[in-house]
Structures are given as C-alpha cells and as structure tokens.
Symmetry: C2
Subunit: 208 residues, 2 copies
C-alpha cells in the first residue's frame, strides 16, 4: 500500500500543520486564529488542514490536548510519589515548571484563556478533579502542619500561592515587563532565580 510508507511524508505535512497551529492557537487563541493563517504559516494548501484534521475544531482539540497532557503530566508524576518528601516535591515542581514554561511561555495563558471560553468541556478532558487536593503532596503538607513544622494553612491558599508565584509571571509577562523594568533577558534571569527563591518563599509563608 502507498499509505504505509508515505506515512513518513504524511507525518511531515501533518507536523507542519500542527506546528503552525500550535504557534497561532497559543499566541492568539482559537477564535482569533484563521485556518488560512495556519495554512500560510505552515506553507501548505488550505484544504490539507481539513484533509488531515477534518476541521479547525478537531485540530484545536488535538493541540489543546497535547498542551494539557504536557502540562499535567509533570504534575501528576510528581505529586503522588510517596518516596520523596514534601520539600523535595516543592523544589522539583518549581524547577520543572519554570524550566518548561521558559521554553513555552504561552502555555499557561493558552490553557487559562480557553478554559475561560469553555470551562466545562475543557475541565472535563483535563480529568484532574481534586487532583491536587487529594494528592500525596498535599497530604504531606498536612502531616507537616500537624507535626508543627508549618503553621496551619488551607490547601487552597497553598495552591493559589504556589501557582501564583510560579506561573503568574508567565501569564502577565507583557504587563510585568511594562510596569517594571528590564527586558526579555532580565525576565529570563529573574525566572531562573525564582527556581531557587520560590521554594524558600513558600516555606517562609508556611511558617507565618
């Protein structure tokens, strides 16, 4: 069959479309992205988008699913490991997330803004209900609190603090660059610093 071998070529075309779609969807969102822009960006004929992915919606779902998977895979693998301490997990999560987000800065805004347009559908596919709150990570935090290592705090506050300190800089990057000083390079430098600082800060919060 022709299909089998040409799959290598198919993949190359498919991948070109996916890359362009990823770029545009993540930058401008679903509604503001035109299929023609995806075609142009990937240098393919418009019809190939539908040939390979059936529709703009299906292509979007694919891109979003991959983004979500990537984003939550890290989380899921780390937070339920019973062999590492709470503090180890904290270090690892901050380090891993900042590293990944520095490579793909648009991911958080992409996910959050599409959740805003379509909360139910997207949150369903994420399949992460109570993921954090029922995790070993949070249980370990609660043990530490019971042991008097940290002061009491509601897990939701902890979650907001952790995510706020770690991912907010990426969500608000243009505004932060505008209100503050510094440039692209400074931004990256500060985020490298935050890998070390955020765990320290979080522990300070937990002692307050």
């Amino acid at each position: 069959m022709a299909k089998k071998d040409s799959k290598i070529l198919d993949k190359s075309t498919e991948e070109k479309i996916k890359s362009a779609a990823r770029l545009l969807f993540q930058q401008k969102g679903f509604a503001a992205t035109r299929t023609r822009d995806i075609a142009q960006e990937s240098g393919i004929n418009l019809a190939l988008l539908n040939y390979y992915f059936r529709s703009k919606e299906k292509l979007f779902e694919l891109i979003m699913m991959e983004a979500l998977t990537g984003f939550f895979a890290v989380l899921k693998s780390v937070i339920n490991d019973s062999n590492s301490s709470f503090e180890d997990k904290l270090d690892l999560l901050v380090e891993t997330y900042i590293t990944r987000l520095l490579v793909n800065e648009d991911i958080p805004m992409f996910i959050l803004s599409e959740i805003r347009s379509n909360p139910k559908a997207l949150l369903k596919v994420i399949n992460a209900e109570r993921l954090m709150i029922d995790s070993v990570f949070i249980h370990q935090l609660q043990k530490q609190i019971e042991a008097g290592v940290y002061k009491p705090i509601h897990p939701n506050h902890f979650l907001m603090n952790f995510m706020g300190l770690t991912v907010f800089p990426f969500v608000a990057k243009p505004m932060i660059l505008h209100l503050g000083d510094g440039n692209e390079t400074e931004f990256r430098k500060h985020l490298e610093e935050r890998k070390r600082l955020i765990p320290i800060w979080i522990k300070a919060l937990l002692n307050t």
Copy 2:
C-alpha cells in the same frame, strides 16, 4: 434640538449596549464575541451598535479603556502617596484590589488576554511604563531594605509576588476550583481571607 433632551434616552440605549458588550467582551474576548450577540444580549437592533459606536472595534476600545482606567486608577492613586508608609500601601492595595476583583472577576483575564493578542497597542494606551518601578511605593520598599527592615529583593520579584498572590486566583479561578476543593462560596471566603493574609505573607517573603 431633539438631541439634547433625548440624550437621556440615548444614554440608556448606549448604556444597554455597553453593558452587554462589557459582559461578552470580558467573558469571551474580542475575537469570540459577535456583534449580533451583543445586540441580542442588550435587546437592541444590530444597526444601533454601529449607529452609536461606529464599529465593533471602537466599542471594544471603549470597553477596554474603561476597564484599564478602572484597574490602574486605584494603583496610580495609591502607589505615589508620600503620606502613607510602605506597609500601609501594601495593605490598602491588597484590600482594594481583592474587593474590586470580587465584584468583577473577569477583568484581569480580560486585560491580560487582550494584551496577549495585541501587546504594543494596548500597552501604549495603558500609559503605565515603569509605573510601578518608579513609584514611591517601590522607593519606600528600597528604603526599608537599605534600613535593614527587609532583606534585599529585586523590585521585579516583588512585583511578581505581589501580583501573583493577589490577582492570579482570579485569572486561574476555574482551574483552582477544579484542582482544589470548594465551590464559588469557598472561593470568595478564601479571597476575603487573603486580604489579611497576603500582606502578612509578603512581609514574610521580604524577611527571607
């Protein structure tokens, strides 16, 4: 002239359109909002949107401008007051912002996601370049650091921490509700608590 007195009625129609536009633009963003949806939501004829506001773009700019003004007016009035201390400003900013955002939860996401689509244009109209970094607020922080009250920290880190702790919960609300536990009511309760907690936490960070 008819115009003068009927302005009262005009305003009512104009205001109906603006309210609907505000609701939809803030919920779905510019690109995903249809003028027909605005017309339907406000119960007016589609043509009136163009009659009063010329175009979807112009209407959007108006709504966005008002959102930005509201958002930054607070900031501007607080951060350059030389009669209050750093700590007073911190308390006031957190308190004021959380109160306002609890009334209009979509504002941060609205602003941030539109900045993402159109950074230059929007950041220009905000007219807040270096607003934070050159403020009395940040200068007072630096004085306190010099005086040994707080440990050294780069102003951009402070800015990220402050905004991350305060506004991120609103940006990520659906995800936080999903990953954590609790409902709408719990969310509001936690944000009320954060009015008190965030200033304490920030000071803890500054001592670390």
